[in-house]
């Protein structure tokens, strides 16, 4: 037999068969090895019996059974393997293991730095629990964590020094601005600054996260996905942190100690900062392992919110009740629009841009339209009484946000309609959403920088 010469194609065939097996989630590495050993034993016996290699391979594979049936049997025995496990298991690749190891160290260091950073002002006598120092912490909250998060992405994406400087400039400028502006104590502009600064600086994180792909739509969309997942992970980590805090308090209370200061001064603030870094790392690590949650939630809630909005509109039309203009009504409608933009954004983030329009796209359009109508009604009600209210910083900020979101949604509705009617590319909508992203941050930056002098620091 000319086994030596024909060995290569056989090895190739075995390799291919192995690759097919590997793709089955229910069959893990050692199982594949065990099955391959069996296949080789069988091949040896068959060639010994006089079959040529090709025939032997076909017979051996056939005797092994169909891959589907096999993987079904393995799945029945090892059902746990069908659950994708995030807890980052070494997959036997030494080079990747070192990277994972280094990343773990980097993330731990950054999370610890963020957790400690929020304690640094305390060294200078600024106490987190102190009412007088609260505004300082509110204004500077971003700086305890965002530089470290940006640093993580700079490291992870391997960005060069020149880019780092461009990322550092806005952060340093922001520190300078919010800490030198002579705010009146407890003023609205101060609160607005504190609220808008993280939104403005989130853009810096986004540019770092996109790692040089910011000016491609794909990079921005990845950042959108990252933000949504981070939010969900952060909420989950916060829930866990709440349980941890509750148990700490309970156990120490059982021995007659009341360690409120541990929770208030350390556990909660340090945990809140560190969790941002850890959450980001988890999102980065899980990308290819687990389904994204944000689009799933979007799917679930788009129909529900559409129904609520439609019912609300119908009720308003039926009963003729006007919107009761109260202090926070504008903010409430802003939040409604934010929510709808989020639903549109996250359903776009998970959609195959090439797919033709379907029922869900129609539903999206209906959601946007009803949100626009609701908002228009509210705006009309507010406009009729705006002169009574006067222009306070809060109202201008809220109106500006409403306008920005309204423009986004109106154009999205137009694009959706074009997509549904004439079958234009869905990419147009995706591109519109990603192009619009900096607008939010720029507006937020304007509120931080221009509002205090504009409204005399009141």
């Amino acid at each position: 037999m000319s086994a030596g010469r024909d060995h290569a194609p056989l090895e190739e065939q075995i390799g291919q068969w192995r690759a097919y097996l590997r793709r089955r989630r229910a069959i893990n590495g050692p199982d594949v090895e065990e099955l391959e050993a069996h296949l080789r034993d069988q091949l040896g016996a068959l060639t010994q019996a006089g079959l040529v290699e090709d025939e032997a391979f076909l017979v051996a594979v056939k005797r092994m059974g169909s891959l589907d049936a096999l993987s079904r049997e393995f799945a029945r025995e090892h059902s746990e393997r069908l659950w994708k496990q995030l807890v980052i298991a070494p997959d036997g690749d030494a080079a990747r293991e070192t990277v994972t190891h280094t990343e773990t160290l980097v993330v731990c260091a950054l999370a610890a730095s963020a957790a400690l950073a929020i304690k640094i002002p305390a060294l200078f006598g600024l106490q987190l629990g102190d009412d007088a120092d609260q505004p300082f912490y509110a204004r500077n909250a971003s700086f305890f964590v965002l530089p470290f998060l940006t640093g993580y992405f700079v490291w992870k994406r391997g960005m060069d020094l020149r880019h780092c400087i461009w990322l550092a400039v806005p952060l340093i400028a922001a520190v300078a601005v919010v800490n030198t502006v002579p705010f009146t104590r407890g003023s609205d502009t101060e609160a607005l600054s504190a609220l808008h600064l993280p939104i403005a600086l989130w853009l810096v994180v986004g540019i770092a996260c996109a790692g040089g792909r910011w000016f491609e739509g794909g990079g921005r969309m990845d950042f959108v996905r990252f933000s949504g997942e981070l939010f969900i992970y952060y909420v989950l980590i916060a829930l866990g942190g709440g349980v941890l805090t509750a148990f700490t308090m309970m156990m120490f209370a059982a021995i007659g100690l009341k360690p409120e200061w541990i929770a208030e001064d350390w556990l909660i603030p340090c945990g809140a900062m560190g969790a941002v870094i850890v959450g980001s790392w988890l999102v980065e690590a899980k990308q290819s392992v687990i389904e994204n949650m944000a689009p799933v939630l979007t799917r679930l809630f788009t129909p529900l919110f559409t129904i609520v909005l439609l019912v609300f509109l119908a009720t308003m039309a039926w009963t003729g009740r006007p919107i009761d203009i109260q202090r926070n009504v504008l903010i409430a409608f802003d939040l409604l629009l934010v929510l709808v933009v989020g639903l549109v954004l996250y359903s776009a983030s998970a959609r195959d841009p090439e797919a033709p329009p379907n029922l869900f796209d129609g539903l999206q359009l209906l959601l946007i339209m009803s949100a626009l109508v609701v908002d228009a009604v509210a705006l009309a009600a507010i406009a009729s009484r705006i002169s009574e209210f006067g222009f306070t910083p809060n109202r201008v900020a809220a109106l500006g946000e409403n306008l920005i979101l309204l423009v986004n949604l109106a154009w999205s509705a137009w694009l959706y309609a074009a997509f549904l009617r004439v079958g234009k590319q869905f990419r147009a909508l995706e591109a519109w959403q990603t192009t619009y992203l900096p607008v939010y941050s720029i507006w937020a930056a304007l509120v931080v920088v221009l509002f205090p002098p504009l409204f005399a620091y009141a």
Partner: protein, 112 residues
């Protein structure tokens, strides 16, 4: 002769346990032994043996360890545990009961 699937599945456990009672073995050899014992009538789909072995291992009836074959490749060997020996005895009793009952009725129903 065509053996029904459920009959093949039901007899798999006692067969594997009994073969391993003869001594440590591995997948391919077990399949060959089964074929030998049944005179070629019991032909398992080769791959299906492994989920069975893994189940027996999970129940603690067999244990496995990696060794190497004559040609030096890695190969997983299975052997019976004490628990497995006990289970084999219980299985034998069960199958004997079935066998006896069938035997008696065969004598009456189709005495050849």
């Amino acid at each position: 002769m065509d053996l029904r699937k459920d009959l093949v599945a039901a007899s798999a456990t006692p067969l594997v346990l009994a073969i391993l009672a003869e001594g440590e073995s591995y997948g391919y050899a077990i399949i060959k032994r089964v074929s030998e014992l049944s005179g070629g009538h019991l032909n398992w789909t080769d791959g299906m043996l492994y989920p069975v072995l893994h189940r027996l291992e999970r129940h603690g009836l067999v244990a496995s360890k990696w060794g190497s074959s004559e040609s030096g490749r890695r190969r997983k060997y299975y052997h019976l545990t004490t628990e497995g020996r006990r289970e084999l005895e219980a299985e034998r009793k069960r199958w004997q009961t079935v066998d006896q009952a069938l035997h008696r009725i065969w004598m009456k129903a189709c005495p050849t």
